[in-house]
Each structure stands twice: as structure tokens, then as C-alpha cells.
């Protein structure tokens, strides 16, 4: 019962969130100077007579009042109809699904690498508080946390792709290869450098957070008691500190899906990686309103899922929550 009401609460929250996001993006787009017909027709606009233009406006519902437009948009959204992308000339849902896969690969790898790296570094630093290793890791983290992502990406690109030639300079697959012939290894090879950029930067944040949390945990009475029982070093960490430390780290990491997404947009620009991030930039520059709206809605949902997982995870790992959730 409690699980059900928990899920129901989250679902309500999601619906409200998506509605608000949809409303705000709609308002912003209607205030923007983009003329959808001009954006759709492009250079051929000169050959369209004002009468024809008016016909299209009526057909597209542009003559209706803004609230009416909003309602009809929302209604088709509810039917999972996101409209047609103007620049890709394909249904928005298809474009997003296609781009999302590429981005998901990039973000997934970056997410896992930065989590594992961050926890390892943060734990070492915390266990060696104020030691040499701790100082090195802290310095490393503080420098990276304040490093701009695009700059770091360019740096890696220059060293590993241009200079050493180990990795490809950009794109998600070899140039000139047909979509069907691209193997998973090809994709992996192309995703490594952008993923590395994202994860090295993400690591720093997690490392600092983990370190701080671990130092706090090490002051707990149950750690003092574990020491009284003769535990120390790695076995002390493994038995009594590990779970307490990674829980907030993982939770934070889930909750920062938004930053991950933002980072991916930048990384995809730098590495010309054709993912959702690049699609959003193209949509913005090309006045592709349906695609832009679609991506905004999808990414809001994506960030929500991250926060949701962060919440659920706490409840699964921590027995106090777990029992509280299961009981009754």
C-alpha cells in the first residue's frame, strides 16, 4: 500500500512537472520571433504568396488564440504525437529515439565511469584524511570541478585525436559507412573520448562529495565501536563505511542527470557527436519548434527519472527506509 501511494505521489508529481515544463516552453516559443512557416519553407519563402501563407496558417492552426494552440498541442502530446521535425523531415518521436540512443551510450558510459572513479578516489582521500594522497586527490578534484567542459574536451581532442591519433576526431561512426554496417565496437571507439571528457569531470564532483561524506561517517559512534573491536583500514571501510558512503554518492549522481545532460550537449558539440545534445542545438538554430519542444519534454522526463531513482535507491539500500516502505 505504501509503495502504491509512493508511486502515485511520484506520478502526480511527474504529470505536474511535465505540464509546467510544457507550458513554460510553449510560452517562450510563442514569445520568440521564430516564424514557423518561414522556418518550414526556408529559402523558397519568396515563391509563396501571402494567400498561400495564410492558407498554411489556417491549416496549422496559427490563427487560433494562444490558449487554443496550447491545448491542441497538449492534446496531441497526450496521444504521443510530437509532430514532425522541420529540419529532419521525420516524426519528432523517431528523431528523438534515434538521437537518444547515441546520447544514452555516451551518458551511460560517462555516468558509470564517473561514479566508480569518484567513489574510489573519494574513499581513498577520506580514509587518508589530510595525508599526501588526500591532498593530491583534493587538488585534482578542485581543479577539475572548476574546469569548463568544452575546454577540457578540446584539450583531450587535441592530445588524443589530433596529436596522438589514438581516437577519432569526431562523429559517432566512421565517415562514409552505412548505418547498418556500423558495429558496436565502432560506436564504442567513437564514444570513448567524449565519454572520457564527461566522466573525468564528473569524477571530481563525486570524489569530493564521497570524501566529505566518508569523513562524516568516520566520526560516527559505530565506527568508533568498530575500531574498539580491532577493525581498521580497508576492512573497517568495507564492513562499516562503504554502504553509508556510496549511498549519498549514488543518490547525488542520479539526481544530477540534469548536469549530465547539459554536459553531454557541450561534449557532443565539441566532438560533433550526433546525439540529442546536437539535435537540440540544431533545432534551436534552425527554428525547428516541434523538435525543440519534444526534446525539452523528453529531457524533463529524463531528469525526473534520475531524481526518482535517487529516491527509490535510498529506500532500497537503507533498511530503515526499506522496512518503512514495506510495512503496512
Amino acid at each position: 500500500m505504501q509503495i502504491l501511494s509512493f508511486l502515485l505521489k511520484k506520478l502526480t508529481y511527474l504529470v505536474i512537472l511535465l505540464f509546467v515544463v510544457a507550458l513554460i516552453t510553449f510560452l517562450l516559443v510563442s514569445l520568440s520571433p521564430i516564424d514557423p512557416i518561414r522556418a518550414y519553407i526556408g529559402a523558397d519563402m519568396l515563391q509563396v504568396s501571402p494567400e498561400q501563407k495564410e492558407q498554411i496558417e489556417i491549416y496549422w492552426g496559427l490563427k487560433e488564440s494562444k490558449p487554443e494552440q496550447f491545448i491542441s498541442w497538449i492534446t496531441s502530446l497526450l496521444k504521443a504525437d510530437f509532430g514532425t521535425s522541420l529540419i529532419y523531415r521525420a516524426p519528432v518521436s523517431e528523431v528523438i529515439a534515434d538521437k537518444f540512443f547515441a546520447s544514452l551510450l555516451l551518458m551511460g558510459i560517462a555516468w558509470i565511469l564517473s561514479l566508480v572513479g569518484g567513489i574510489v578516489l573519494g574513499s581513498i582521500a577520506g580514509m587518508r584524511q589530510n595525508g599526501l594522497l588526500d591532498r593530491i586527490i583534493q587538488l585534482y578534484s578542485y581543479v577539475l570541478v572548476s574546469t569548463p567542459g568544452f575546454w577540457f574536451g578540446l584539450l583531450l581532442l587535441m592530445i588524443f585525436a589530433v596529436g596522438l591519433g589514438i581516437f577519432p576526431i569526431g562523429l559517432a561512426s566512421p565517415i562514409g559507412m552505412l548505418e547498418g554496417n556500423v558495429s558496436f565496437l565502432d560506436r564504442l571507439y567513437h564514444v570513448i573520448l567524449p565519454a572520457l571528457t564527461l566522466s573525468i569531470l564528473g569524477t571530481a564532483n563525486i570524489a569530493l562529495h564521497t570524501r566529505e561524506k566518508l569523513i562524516e561517517i568516520l566520526k560516527s559512534p559505530f565506527i568508533l565501536q568498530a575500531k574498539a573491536q580491532g577493525l581498521k583500514g580497508f576492512s573497517l571501510y568495507k564492513r562499516h563505511a562503504f554502504r553509508h558512503t556510496i549511498l549519498p554518492a549514488i543518490s547525488l549522481h542520479f539526481a544530477s542527470f540534469g548536469e549530465l545532460f547539459g554536459g553531454a550537449i557541450l561534449a557532443e558539440q565539441v566532438f560533433s557527436y550526433p546525439g540529442l545534445g546536437q539535435a537540440v542545438v540544431d533545432a534551436g538554430l534552425g527554428g525547428d519548434v516541434p523538435l525543440l519542444l519534444g526534446i525539452v519534454i523528453i529531457s524533463a522526463g529524463f531528469v525526473f527519472v534520475g531524481n526518482f531513482l535517487a529516491d527509490v535507491l535510498y529506500k532500497i539500500i537503507d533498511p530503515r527506509f526499506r522496512k518503512g516502505l514495506m510495512k503496512l
Binding site: P221, F222, Q225, A228, G230, L231, H240, P319, K323
Partner: protein
């Protein structure tokens, strides 16, 4: 002078001139405390709140925070104890029953927690024996600490020291709120230790419990041990007791109040 009784003693724990100094507050917390605990002996430490009892227990295990400077000479079975060899003694030879129940790891079921503290064969069997001797229900082994009542948690802490099978237990306030009837049950494991030639440092507010279980009673006041007397000295009007503070403690016991009023 307190030292006299321990000359020639090689087994057990000897603490000589323990002083604890707070580096930042520039304050002496414990001053010149000497105490010994022989095998088969239960020594109680009584004293008001803040008199330094927990500090004493933690300093034996060298577990004080770094802002507290510890100076003392400590011998365990005739060998000097210091920062370097204390890790080998912790738990295995000298175990601590902590004062607060938040010393239990909230993420671990108590049964699992206790098993990981044990060494050797037949763990499950030994654990069950200790567990039921403390009047705990087998089902509770599957509980997380937050599911235990205060009294249950307290007995789990006692069990956590017993399962390690140490030679000395530092019991920091193991019996708070235990009524006179159940007291004997909770004290039984300590008497059992004594019979096996092991020792207990029994820290308590409960003067009554101290008299019941201990061989000697050390009275702590304001960071100093002002008196160590065998329980036999606690009799009659307390005329054998040295310190007025100790006499006052003794005379304040309910059964003695009656005697005093009657006179």
C-alpha cells in the same frame, strides 16, 4: 598509594598515572588516575556524570580523539601497551561495551553483525548460547538496530563484547534503567567471566549494581579516582571508607537512609 596493591601483579591490566589533557580547551580532563584489574576480578568505577568514566574506558583502548592528549603508562600482562600494539588487543583481548546504543551499525542486522565479530568454529552455536543467556529472543537476531528497544539494544551491545571472548571487558554503563529484579540476569555474564579467570571494568552510575557485582569499587570525581576500596568496606556506617564523598554515596543508598534516620 593506590598503586601499592598492584605491586608484583603481572597478569591483567595496570594503569599508572593516566592524565588526559584537552589541547584546544587547555584543560585537564583526567588527572593522575591509577588503577589495576587482576584476572578474576571485577572492578567497578562509580562517579557522577562527567567525572571522566567513559574517558577512562576509551583511553585504555587508545581511542580518544586527537584533540585529547593522553599520558600514562599502561601494562597488559606485564607488557607495555601503546599506540602501536593496542590494535592487536582491541576486541580480541580487551573489548568495550559502549555507553550509547548508536554504536550499532544501522545497516547491519544484529545477528550478522555479531557473527562477523566471532572467530573460530561453531559460531552459530556459540552465538545462540550467549544470545539466550542474555534473555534475548532468537527471532531478534534478524532485527536491524532501529527495530530493537532500548533494553534489547543494550543487551546486544553486551553480547557484542561477549562473542569476542576477550580477557577483559570494559563495560561502560551496561545496566541503565534495569530494575532490581532483572539486574541479576544482566550481571550473570560478568560473574561468569570472573569464574573463567577473566576480568571486568564495570562503569556505572548504579551504585547498587556496583556493590552487587564488584570486588573493588573505584570512586571517580572530577577526573580523579579519589578512592579504591574493596566491597567489604561498604558496610555499616561506612567507617572504613576513606573519603567523605564515598561515605556520602554509601549513606545515600535507600537501605542505609533508614539506618541513619533510625539512629
Amino acid at each position: 598509594m593506590l598503586w601499592k596493591g598492584t605491586i608484583g601483579m603481572t597478569q591483567g591490566l595496570i594503569i599508572k598515572n593516566l592524565s588526559l589533557y584537552h589541547k584546544y580547551e587547555k584543560m585537564t580532563l583526567v588527572n593522575n588516575v591509577s588503577l589495576s584489574i587482576a584476572p578474576s576480578e571485577i572492578v567497578a568505577v562509580v562517579g557522577a556524570s562527567g567525572s571522566g568514566k567513559s574517558l577512562l574506558a576509551h583511553s585504555i583502548l587508545h581511542l580518544l580523539p586527537e584533540e585529547i592528549e593522553q599520558n600514562c603508562e599502561m601494562l597488559w600482562n606485564g607488557e607495555t601497551v601503546n599506540q602501536h600494539n593496542i590494535p592487536q588487543l582491541r576486541g580480541k583481548k580487551i573489548a568495550l561495551i559502549p555507553q550509547t546504543i548508536d554504536a550499532l551499525d544501522p545497516f547491519l542486522k544484529v545477528g550478522k553483525y555479531l557473527l562477523t565479530l566471532m572467530k573460530g568454529k561453531n559460531k552459530q552455536h556459540r552465538l545462540h548460547k550467549i544470545w539466550s543467556s542474555l534473555g534475548l529472543d532468537i527471532d531478534w537476531l534478524a532485527y536491524f538496530p532501529f527495530e530493537l528497544s532500548g533494553g534489547m539494544a543494550r543487551r546486544v551491545l553486551i553480547a557484542s563484547a561477549l562473542v569476542q571472548n576477550p580477557n577483559l571487558i570494559l563495560a561502560d554503563e551496561p545496566t541503565p534503567g534495569v530494575d532490581a529484579d532483572t539486574l541479576s540476569g544482566v550481571l550473570a555474564p560478568f560473574n561468569q567471566m570472573k569464574q573463567e579467570g577473566k576480568s571486568v571494568l564495570f562503569i556505572t552510575h548504579d551504585f547498587f549494581a556496583a556493590l552487587k557485582v564488584a570486588d573493588r569499587i573505584a570512586v571517580m570525581d572530577n577526573g580523579e579516582i579519589i578512592e579504591v576500596s574493596p566491597v567489604s568496606f561498604f558496610a555499616g556506617d561506612g567507617e572504613k571508607l576513606k573519603h567523605t564523598y564515598t561515605k556520602a554515596l554509601w549513606q545515600a543508598l535507600p537501605q542505609n537512609c533508614f539506618v541513619n534516620n533510625w539512629r
